[in-house]
């Protein structure tokens, strides 16, 4: 553990946004926004520098205040964390630029929400902290920070629907984190340690471990809106302000997924059976079909996009059955692990870009029309060319058509599915894409249809449309560094690894 390079960046990635968020609280409206935006740019710059540091030197660590674990806290930035932090920085900086313009657009805009900035910076600090954390309790604290900031952002508009959705979101978030913490208590009680690396070695299979795994997985599934605990997501994400919806859908739900992935792969290996993987894959598969179908049935744009998030998160859960190997299969002989990991990572990144773009475009449409009922989208192409293009491109990435990042993710997922011989997942992936195409093409058909009445669209700032378009393009551009990214992730050994399930038995049984 001590042979890893110590670097100040992990600490700065958490400390700087917290400091700037606190600082911005001392300013009035405009000053808050200015400090907030500067803070976002600085944090993003720092994240890129830290990413380069990890790319050059491999995993870096930081021991806070020189207090060695287990007493102190160690932050650890490996390549998986670096990729998530980099993604947060790139998507986050564009959403910040959009928010800056969006809140200043006085005539048709929603007005100014100065508290957006400190809350978003605290949220960013929480996300960075989560990706860097290396022990179970730290993860709990960071998901709580993220949860409270996310709910505060979701209710920022002060509308009644947002309040109801926000309270429901908050109650789900508290329930999720309490369940997670109960699991942590059981783990600490049986092993006496919270360090992820150490736990991976000392954790023994048994009823306690299995039960801890069960409650932790339940808690995190509630937090990441995995089926059947997705009920809170569509109202909360659709009722929020446009930049907030983009943040919540693109970044916040990925946090819980990251913990789930880390814990299943690195800690609970001893207690996970082949059947458990199948079960979580089934939850993902149902989410893909159910979410896409619900999205198809909605009549307001933001609800379509929010339900689509449920479906896209389902794809992430579908990589779990591929990563858990049947008894007798070793990680060396399983050639589908690398495609499955690639699928997961690219699904996370492609969805972050595409969904952020989609929600920002929806915000522009609300700005222009005053509402987001889809029948009014007629002649969108004639009135808001750039936004229509952004929606089209983001939609293509969500469907998974080449050459988008979404295509890469779904193609690799299919490749992994066929290589592993678990063919029963393949129809789900294809049906999900078909249903996604259904609602995206429904929107595009309306966008190209001739208008029934003229002059319903109010002009919106061009710069906002361009930010949304850049994010949509981003979901295509990410396929170019794919080769580099896969090599980078493979270098740490997390990537391409799988759980060799030694235990046979029921879904969670070890006895």
């Amino acid at each position: 553990m001590t042979d890893l390079l110590t670097s100040p960046y992990p600490a700065l990635l958490v400390g700087l946004p917290v400091l700037l968020a606190t600082l911005s609280l001392f300013f009035r409206t405009r000053g808050k926004a200015l400090v907030g935006l500067l803070g976002c740019l600085l944090t993003a710059g720092l994240a890129i520098v830290a990413f380069i540091e990890v790319a050059q030197h491999g995993t870096v660590i930081h021991i806070l205040g020189g207090w060695e674990p287990p007493l102190g806290i160690m932050l650890r930035m490996d390549s998986l964390a670096a990729v998530f932090i980099g993604m947060t920085a790139v998507v986050g900086v564009f959403i910040s630029l959009y928010a800056w313009q969006y809140f200043r657009a006085d005539e048709s805009g929603p007005g100014e929400f100065p508290l957006f900035w400190p809350l978003w910076l605290f949220l960013w600090a929480g996300l960075n902290g989560l990706f860097l954390s290396n022990d179970l309790f730290n993860l709990f604290v960071t998901i709580e920070v993220i949860g409270i900031c996310a709910v505060a952002l979701a209710v920022l508009s002060g509308k009644t629907t947002a309040m109801f959705a926000g309270l429901r979101y908050l109650l789900a978030a508290i329930t999720g984190s309490m369940a997670y913490l109960f699991g942590v208590a059981l783990i600490y009680g049986s092993t006496g340690t919270l360090d992820l690396g150490l736990l991976g070695q000392v954790l023994e299979p048994g009823t306690t471990t299995t039960f801890a795994l069960l409650v932790i997985t339940f808690g995190l599934m509630v937090k990441m809106a995995g089926f059947p605990f997705h009920f809170w997501l569509p109202p909360a994400h659709s009722a929020a302000l446009a930049p907030v919806s983009a943040l919540l859908s693109a970044l916040v739900v990925k946090g819980a997924f990251y913990i789930l992935l880390r814990l299943w792969m690195e800690v609970f290996g001893v207690s996970i059976t082949y059947a458990a993987g199948q079960l979580i894959g089934l939850a993902g598969a149902i989410a893909v079909i159910w979410g896409s179908w619900q999205a198809f049935m909605q009549t307001s744009l933001k609800l379509i996009v929010a339900h689509s998030s449920v479906a896209q998160l389902g794809y992430l859960l579908m990589i779990f059955p591929l990563l858990i190997l049947a008894p007798g299969v070793t990680a060396d002989s399983a050639d589908w692990l690398s495609p499955a990991w690639t699928a997961g990572i690219f699904q996370v990144i492609a969805h972050a870009f595409a969904k952020a773009s989609f929600f920002l475009s929806a915000g522009l449409i609300i700005m222009a029309l005053g509402h987001d009922r889809i029948e009014s989208l007629r002649d969108l192409v004639g009135n808001m060319r750039i936004t229509a293009m952004a929606i089209g491109l983001a939609g293509v990435s969500l469907i998974g058509l080449p050459p988008s990042g979404g295509f890469m993710a779904k193609w690799m997922l299919l490749k992994g599915i066929f290589l592993s011989g678990q063919w029963w997942w393949a129809p789900v992936v294809l049906a999900g894409s078909l249903l996604t195409a259904g609602y995206v093409f429904m929107l595009l058909r309306l966008a190209f249809a001739p208008a029934r009445e003229m002059g319903t669209f109010k002009p919106v700032p061009k710069s906002l449309e361009i930010v949304a378009l850049i994010l949509a393009l981003g979901s295509f551009l990410i396929v170019f560094p794919a080769d580099y990214m896969i090599q980078f992730l493979e270098s740490t050994g997390v990537f391409g690894s799988g759980i060799e399930s030694i235990v046979e038995g029921g879904a969670y049984g070890n006895d």
């Binding site: 709580e144 709910v151 009644t160 908050l170 329930t175 109960f182 208590a185 059981l186 600490y188």
Partner: protein, 100 residues
């Protein structure tokens, strides 16, 4: 039965009562109280493990964790109560209905 076992069992019971309450009740305040009961169960389980491992004195780490956890839980509960109060002021409603 050892003392810590009574605490552990109580903590599990509290957790389940809270979990059930969150899902079953519709009233805002009842739901919030249910999450607090869940939290109480979790913190009690930490403390009971500290008691079990006590040789001459109790393990300090779970106590430190519980303190942090309580702070976080209080903050969440306060936020939830503030939201519930605001909804009541705006709409006069005090529980979730089917369509909201």
């Amino acid at each position: 039965m050892e003392t810590y076992q009574i605490y552990s069992l109580t903590s599990a019971v509290l957790f389940v009562i809270g979990l059930g309450g969150v899902f079953i009740s519709r009233h805002f305040i009842k739901k919030i109280i249910a999450t607090i009961i869940m939290g109480g169960g979790v913190f009690l389980s930490f403390v009971s493990f500290a008691e079990r491992d006590a040789l001459t004195f109790a393990d300090p780490v779970p106590h430190a964790l519980v303190i942090t956890g309580i702070v976080v839980a209080v903050a969440s509960a306060a936020f939830a109560l503030a939201l519930a109060r605001r909804i009541y002021q705006l709409t006069g409603e005090e529980s979730f209905t089917k369509d909201k």
